[in-house]
């Protein structure tokens, strides 16, 4: 269980994290979503006591991280890939971290096996690919068999097999009753992996919800209809105060109603339908909708339009 209360972090004039309060419960994979620069990594560093909050507090299993004497048994973290000395072997990297918490060679061999780096354990990490670095970082997180796990962008740089492996690992860790917090900017990945979502933008909380609720509550839900009598149907719907948009392909997009309601109206008026489908926005679309105002850097729409007309 991770609990943050009013967590804020200011760097000079920038408020990187702004009054975040959230709970990460055990037994679930909680996705931590936000555009780049939204404060995900800063928040994770504050959870681990690496950065001190400007105000607010965060506890892991009821205690501030800094109070743990052997934190690897309580919390495992993958922060950035390759936060390691390139001249040291993977084995010695893990051993030096493990020894500080009284964890020995046998366990180091185990986690190297578990992440599929057995053969590369004696190689120096400077020659590792990003994916191998991620696996080594995950091995470090697993060293103390902790009840709480934090992963910052764990699938970055992994090949498809690695992505699948991380996905299954996260789910199995949560299924064992552990607390799992995973940050990502990849919505699709989170919709598959995570049960719960914490969504932030510009350091502020946008939503703390489940994946299903997040998709259902969007304003983008609409119904798509195609019919030979599209004009008549559009007129009918408009008189009932329902917004209708006519698409270039002749289809109608109807917002603010359900496919059942549209079907009823069509039937009652003897209008034959060729297509009737409910359209639910993807996680990406919902995310874009929610964070539109909170993205620091985005390409301007139509930026390549002619300078003068």
């Amino acid at each position: 269980m991770i609990e943050a209360i009013g967590l804020s972090k200011r760097y000079g004039a920038t408020l990187a994290v702004d009054d975040l309060s959230f709970t990460v419960p055990p037994g679930r994979v909680t996705g931590f979503l936000g555009p780049n620069g939204s404060g995900k990594s800063t928040t994770m560093r504050m959870i681990l006591g690496l950065d001190a909050p400007t105000s607010g507090s965060v506890t892991v299993n009821g205690r501030p991280y800094a109070e743990y004497r052997r934190p690897l048994f309580e919390v495992g973290a993958l922060l950035e890939a390759k936060a390691m000395h390139g001249g040291r072997s993977a084995y010695n990297h893990l051993l030096s971290l493990g020894l500080s918490n009284g964890i020995g060679r046998a366990r180091v061999e185990q986690v190297l096996d578990q992440v599929g780096l057995r053969g590369a354990g004696r190689k120096r990490t400077g020659g590792f690919s990003l994916g191998m670095g991620q696996r080594l970082g995950i091995a470090a997180a697993l060293l103390g068999d902790p009840r709480v796990l934090l992963f910052d962008e764990p699938v970055n740089g992994l090949d498809p097999e690695g992505v699948l492996w991380v996905r299954n690992l996260l789910k199995s860790l949560a299924a064992e009753g552990r607390t799992v917090l995973v940050s990502s900017h990849l919505m699709g990945e989170m919709s598959i992996t995570a049960d719960r979502l914490i969504i932030i933008g510009r350091g502020r909380m946008i939503a703390e919800t489940t994946v299903e609720d997040f998709l259902a509550c969007g304003s983008g839900n609409s119904v798509r209809v195609r019919s030979a009598q599209a004009d008549a149907l559009a007129a009918l719907l408009t008189t009932q105060g329902i917004a209708v948009v006519r698409r270039a392909d002749g289809a109608l997009t109807i917002a603010g109603t359900t496919s059942e309601a549209v079907g009823q109206i069509a039937r009652a008026n003897g209008i034959a339908l060729q297509e009737l489908s409910a359209h639910q926005p993807s996680l990406e679309e919902r995310f874009m909708e929610l964070t539109r105002g909170s993205v620091d850097y985005h390409a301007a729409d139509g930026a390549i339009a002619p300078a003068s007309e």
Binding site: L48, L50, R69, P71, A83, M84, L97, G98, L99, S100
Partner: protein, 268 residues
């Protein structure tokens, strides 16, 4: 949450620090730069002692032979090996910051000052062993290659053992000064430049000052104060061997002290 059955409860302060020492020693021994710098340090000391013993006596006048410090001559390699020890002291801490390893380290050991203390102990003990051995080695190699009896000394002569051991003490304290500056600056290049700036620049600047100032300030600059510990005869006007070395250690202690204060105050 169920009651804590983790090793949290079996933790004792002393065994905890022993774990940190093991962890830091593992880091120290598992990178090549450690071996390269220590090898270079030993090689400089021993090889320069042999060269000095073979070639210098023929170049010195009888008067020079009578006035030169024969022990200091045998430890001439320290002028080079000190660079290796200084650099290694800096790298022990700055390599954590330049590689990003520090975040993994401090996630495993949130008690930052204990982690830094373990680093200091591991480096100090290792540097002391290698420093003293290479200094003693240099002394005996010098005596072995020496054919000129005017420069011969015995390890049992007054002050000789202190000076020879002092060579190891000096490079250890210099390395600790580097470690302290590394902890403050968290960047290799800046910290290395500062260590050797503090060591080599004051003697040059001193030459620009009037005599009275030179005499007043000269004995206290790091290189002069620290250098007396590995001289058989202290230079005229210089502090005594232990007083001078004590002051040199104080400089290192100040740098380390600031490092210890800052490590808890800054974001990693």
């Amino acid at each position: 949450m169920e009651a804590s059955t983790t090793p949290q409860t079996s933790y004792s302060r002393l065994s905890g620090f022993a774990d940190l020492l093991r962890s830091e020693f593992c880091k120290f021994r598992s990178v090549r730069s450690t071996y390269w710098t220590l090898f270079a340090a030993v090689a400089f000391n021993v090889v320069l002692a042999a060269l000095a013993a073979i070639f210098l006596p023929g170049q010195l006048s009888a008067h020079e032979k009578a006035t030169v410090d024969p022990v200091r001559l045998s430890l001439g390699g320290i002028h080079l090996s000190q660079i290796a020890f200084g650099v290694l002291g800096v790298l022990v801490i700055t390599s954590e910051y330049t590689t990003g390893m520090i975040r993994a380290t401090l996630s495993a050991v949130p008690q930052r000052r204990l982690m830094l203390a373990a680093k200091v102990v591991v480096f100090a003990v290792s540097a002391l062993i290698v420093g003293v051995l290479s200094s003693v080695g240099a002394y005996f190699v010098f005596q072995a290659f020496l054919t000129d009896s005017a420069l011969k000394t015995s390890i049992t002569d007054p002050g000789v053992l202190r000076a020879v051991i002092g060579g190891g003490l000096f490079v250890t304290a210099l390395g600790l000064l580097g470690l302290g500056l590394g902890a403050i600056m968290r960047a290799s290049a800046g910290a290395i430049a500062t260590v050797f700036g503090l060591l080599f620049v004051p003697p040059v600047l001193l030459q620009l000052l009037p005599h009275a100032w030179k005499d007043a300030i000269g004995p206290y600059i790091p290189m002069v104060a620290g250098g007396q510990i590995y001289a058989l005869h202290p230079e005229a006007g210089a502090l005594g061997p232990w007083t001078g070395f004590g002051l040199f250690c104080l400089y290192a202690a100040v740098a380390l002290g600031v490092g210890f204060v800052l490590i808890n105050r800054r974001d990693a």
